[in-house]
């Protein structure tokens, strides 16, 4: 297969900059597709070229398959990197790429289909003997009420086409089921253009553990697991690798289950298999597979030394992996804090605007992935992420202390950020001990005045 010479990046923000970084290292030219709102961003400056694909609204720009492909053809690109979010797992984009002899840097359409539809993904999990949370497909309130006793309360109603926590509804009582079902369908229709939903048991005390998969279609490898249990409303806030305090037996079972799933569907690309670890039952369940680069991939890069974007590009070029499982040596511990422009005092409302001074110092064991420089604009049109601060250390306490140090001294003026929240978490005993569940952050916020007092002192 031909080596890729020029990549159209169909994304924005920090991940666009991240992809450009690796492309520059590899000597690959980049064309960044930008909306009107993103013309002056760091990515637009760093890319070999930027092309404006439409207005700020992502439905009129970043989500337009035809425009993205046309932009790639018109600028002579031989591949498209979709990043995460937007069109990253869109079958139509993958299909349009293959119809136009453009390499889609991601899995083949068949794999997107296999994992993109959660019902299909669940079927594959059953076939691959990967454990699943009890649940099932429901198409109307009556079916939902009929299935509910088998699942048990509390349960979750989820959008078949959903992701990233969007389109989920928690139901605690059978009386609420019909109303919540209708709301879930409406939300799913509005958000994803697909009103199909399914229900599953809500594990009240669970950890989110996911496995990084790297596969050339023949060799299927894992690059360890990540723990993403620090979440607020299903949005990840802090991730770390490896998962702290996970019993070794379960860790191996989880890694094996992820490999089984990827092998079963013949997966070929970079991907992540997500699991929910049921702390009360000492069990784990398959959640979904994400067929893209993940926001939190840097913690895996930190402990493995791999460049996952470079690996993803090489696989897309058709190159066989030059690694075996034994070549992947995971060392030390890594954290990632997602720094968002949001007002933690006002229910985490996004706080877009122009940033003032920005300074993330260099330090041993530190990486900052960001598109924000002093004076940059945080657009109200997109997510509020400013930066991902990633630290590494020989041990978990060392990596943790490095994160505390950086967040204490970095400069980020002009907009409200969630740094105080991160600092409160990093100083909290339960987090320091490790192995917290997904309820953790909600509980910490409930005692917030005390938890955030640290900021007032600082």
């Amino acid at each position: 297969m031909a080596a890729i010479k020029r990549i159209l990046i169909a994304n924005r923000g920090e991940i666009a900059v991240r992809i450009i970084r690796t492309c520059r290292t590899l000597g690959i030219e980049t064309v960044l597709a930008v909306s009107e709102a993103d013309r002056d961003t760091l990515g637009a400056k760093l890319a070999t070229r930027a092309v404006c694909i439409g207005p700020a609204r992502s439905t009129d720009s970043y989500l337009k398959v035809g425009t993205i492909v046309e932009a790639a053809i018109g600028t002579g690109c031989d591949a498209i990197h979709p990043g995460y979010g937007f069109l990253s797992e869109n079958e139509k984009l993958a299909e349009a790429c293959s119809e136009n002899q453009i390499i889609f840097i991601g899995p083949q359409t068949a794999h997107l289909k296999a994992v993109g539809d959660k019902l299909t993904a669940r079927r594959h999990a059953v076939d691959a003997k990967v454990p699943l949370v009890p649940g099932g497909n429901v198409s109307n309130p009556q079916e939902a009420i009929a299935l509910a006793p088998d699942i048990g309360f509390p349960l979750l109603i989820k959008a078949v086409s959903g992701g990233g926590g969007r389109g989920m509804k928690r139901v605690d009582r059978v009386e609420d089921l019909a109303t919540m079902f209708d709301m879930a369908v409406s939300e799913a229709t509005a958000a994803f253009g697909d009103g199909r939903v399914y229900m599953e048991r809500l594990i009240t005390v669970g950890r989110h553990v996911e496995v990084q998969i790297l596969s050339d279609g023949e060799t299927v490898l894992h690059v360890g697991e990540r723990d993403c249990s620090v979440q607020r409303r299903y949005q990840k806030v802090i991730e770390e690798a490896p998962a702290p305090g996970l019993p070794e037996k379960m860790r191996h079972e989880i890694l094996d289950a992820a490999l089984r799933f990827a092998r079963h569907i013949g997966y070929k690309s970079l991907g992540t298999v997500e699991f929910l670890v049921d702390c009360e039952r000492d069990a784990f369940y398959f959640l979904e597979m994400n067929a893209r680069i993940q926001v939190e991939h840097p913690v895996t890069e930190a402990i493995s030394g791999l460049d996952l974007v470079a690996a993803q590009i090489a696989i897309a070029e058709g190159k066989p992996l030059k690694l075996t499982q034994d070549d992947i040596r995971l060392q030390g511990h890594s954290f990632e804090c997602r720094i968002n422009a949001e007002d933690i005092e006002a229910d985490f409302r996004p706080s877009p605007g122009r940033v003032g001074d920005v300074w993330f110092p260099s330090a041993t064991g530190l990486r900052v992935d960001t598109h924000i420089q002093s004076g940059a604009m945080i657009s109200p049109h997109y997510d509020s992420m400013i930066a991902k601060v990633i630290t590494w250390g020989e041990t978990r306490p060392i990596a943790l202390q490095r994160m505390r140090d950086i967040l204490a001294i970095c400069v980020l003026d002009g907009v409200k950020t969630n740094i105080a929240l991160h600092r409160a978490i990093l100083d909290d005993d339960a987090f320091i001990e490790g192995g917290i569940d997904t309820n953790y952050l909600g509980q910490l916020l409930a005692k917030r005045p005390a938890a955030l007092a640290i900021e007032k002192e600082a």
């Binding site: 694909i53 018109g74 002579g76």
Partner: protein, 159 residues
Amino acid sequence: MSEKLTHSDIEEIMALIDGSSFDQLSLEMGDLKLSLRRTAPQSQAAAPAMEPVVTAPAASTNVPPAQPALPATEPATNANLIDVPSPMLGTFYKAGKPGAEPFVTIGSKVNPDTVIGIIEVMKLMNSVPAGISGTVAELVAPDGELVEHGQVLIRVQQD
């Protein structure tokens, strides 16, 4: 300060901007809006700071270079000319099919509904209306090449 701008006021303002490093001036006084723009080629150098919006079209359709974004295509040579920007990214065609007469040429009268070209996006043809009334003064975007969203297609002398 007087309520109305006189002819000599405007001359004075124009002299001021002429001697300054600015390329554009917008003035609003009550109902009055005055917009002045310095003409080419002087403004070319300053264009990136003021108009970072439009990038140069690709050099050829097949394998154009991935050149860095460039400042606006030639700025309008007359302050009264109105840019007609591309409503979308795609391949721009001046005529309905190869070899056919172009939709508009210099001197063509247009009204807001007049089709001035076609933009192809993934084999779908989208007609582009002028959006304003006037006379076509400049044909800017080349035929058969990629235009970006917002890139100037033609310029029209408004009625």
